[in-house]
């Protein structure tokens, strides 16, 4: 139920007094309310759940996590090769 996925803000507009965004999820587009993420702008990635953006995805943190995890995967791969060689 708490499923929430990242999508990219394509445009923002106002509807019935609420800030809304048109969000792109790899080609599928849908509207979401941006009232809880007022700093979201065109190009931001937001985490959307049940029609509301809950947070702006921190792209720097995402890249840093991926770099760290690739490093770990490489170390493990090296270790495995070493063990196999022995």
């Amino acid at each position: 139920m708490c499923l929430a996925i990242p999508g990219r803000v394509l445009k923002t507009f106002e509807e019935n007094g609420l800030v809304m965004g048109l969000i792109d999820y790899a080609g599928v587009q849908n509207q979401a309310c941006l009232t809880y993420t007022p700093e979201a702008e065109v190009g931001s990635y937001v985490i959307v759940h049940a029609g509301f953006a809950l947070q702006i995805l921190n792209e720097d943190e995402a890249q840093a996590s991926l770099r760290e995890l690739s490093r770990l995967a490489d170390i493990m791969e090296e270790d495995r090769k070493e063990k196999d060689a022995k």
Partner: protein, 364 residues
């Protein structure tokens, strides 16, 4: 999809798995709180890839599963009224009440409509001034801000034909209920990442300190879950209770204060009964007295609800991490996703449904 696919990369998952194997001496019992995480764990066969020292137990984090039977029965009675357009998220439609569900009410002519956002229900109220639009507001902290905004919006527009049946639940009191049970075997938690987008992770620090457990807010993709498990195992092995955030790209310490402010404006904390578990003090949200005009349970008094749970169902013990679905005698026999006996088999995020669905083949 960007920021999803990268966190499903088998190479990264493999590296994490090896590091977990290297770090663990165990044995450890770790609970993932959220049904979405249970679903991912089963889908990618993560439980079967982990070293035998780690046991994952599945938490109560499926709001559909824990919505009390009385609430469902009351919702069904309101949905059957001819003056009502009844709206709900899709996952609630098949949840069995004592003798009925929303789908069957619809097939008998009830005007039951699925919505993707609670704002769609407000729109229906705007467009149908001669009908009463009722929204079944269930969910955790993740869903409460949207559902609260629907009432705020209806109030701002002066709509008098919109109301909600509110059965919101809160995660930390449920964690405390699990931890303080004498039968508790959980030693560490993967906290529900999307609940933390709203609440932040700092509300878990007092729980981690009081019960001396590690709590790791974790995302939903396989790489997230494996990293969450690794961090939990490292904290356990080092004898370090405390909170460590895995889901850095989405969760901050403070969460989303703007969303919490609207939740506080519309709802207030109350005691709440969890289906299968029982009453947990301070574990729910209800509509504030000032907003009573938007409370469907006050607007449409439904009397004489007598609930009946199937005796055989052990979903309560499953939701507390005490038993696993296949230990239920009805699992896969009398109880299947097409004819569910309990809510944990209905919701796709329920542990019983997840066990039933996945032919548990590994990702790697």
């Amino acid at each position: 999809m960007k920021y999803l696919d990268e966190f499903r990369d088998p190479q990264l998952a493999k590296g994490l798995l090896e590091e977990i194997k290297r770090a663990v001496t165990g044995p450890w019992v770790i609970m993932e709180i959220c049904g979405g995480q249970t679903h991912s764990i089963m889908r990618y066969g993560i439980d079967q890839l982990l070293p035998p020292e780690i046991t994952l137990v599945h938490g109560p984090g499926c709001p559909v599963c824990v919505t009390p039977l009385e609430t469902i029965d009351r919702a069904l009675a309101i949905a059957a009224r001819p003056d009502v357009i009844f709206t709900s998220f899709g996952d609630m439609l098949r949840v069995p009440g004592s003798s009925d569900d929303l789908f069957r009410v619809k097939s008998r002519g009830g005007d039951v409509r699925m919505v993707y956002s609670p704002l769609e229900a407000v729109k229906m109220a705007r467009e149908n001034p001669d009908r009463e639009v009722v929204f079944l507001a269930v969910g955790f902290e993740t869903t409460a801000p949207g559902n609260a905004m629907a009432i705020k919006q209806a109030a701002a527009e002066g709509l008098t034909n919109f109301s909600e049946i509110v059965s919101h639940v809160l995660v930390p009191p449920a964690m405390e209920a699990i931890l303080s049970s004498p039968a508790c075997r959980v030693q560490g938690f993967l906290a529900a990442g999307h609940v933390c987008t709203i609440m932040g992770w700092d509300e878990y620090e007092p729980i981690a300190a009081k019960y001396r457990v590690p709590i790791v807010p974790t995302g939903f993709e396989p790489v997230d879950i494996l990293e969450g498990i690794l961090k939990t195992v490292q904290l356990l092995e080092n004898g370090q209770p405390g909170v460590e955030n895995q889901y850095l790209r989405v969760v901050s310490a403070e969460g989303n204060p703007a969303a919490r402010a609207v939740v506080d404006e519309i709802y207030t904390v109350c005691d709440r009964k969890w289906r299968g578990i029982g009453m947990i003090p301070g574990s729910g949200l209800m509509i504030r007295d000032e907003m009573a005009a938007f409370d469907a349970e006050k607007k449409f008094k439904v009397e004489g609800i007598v609930t009946e749970e199937p005796e055989i169902c052990i979903s309560g013990e499953i939701l507390q991490g005490l038993k696993k679905p296949h230990e239920c005698p009805a699992f896969g026999k009398e109880c299947t996703p097409t004819s569910p006996l309990g809510a944990t088999m209905v919701s796709s995020e329920g542990a019983c449904a997840a066990y039933h669905k996945y032919s548990r083949k590994g990702l790697l």
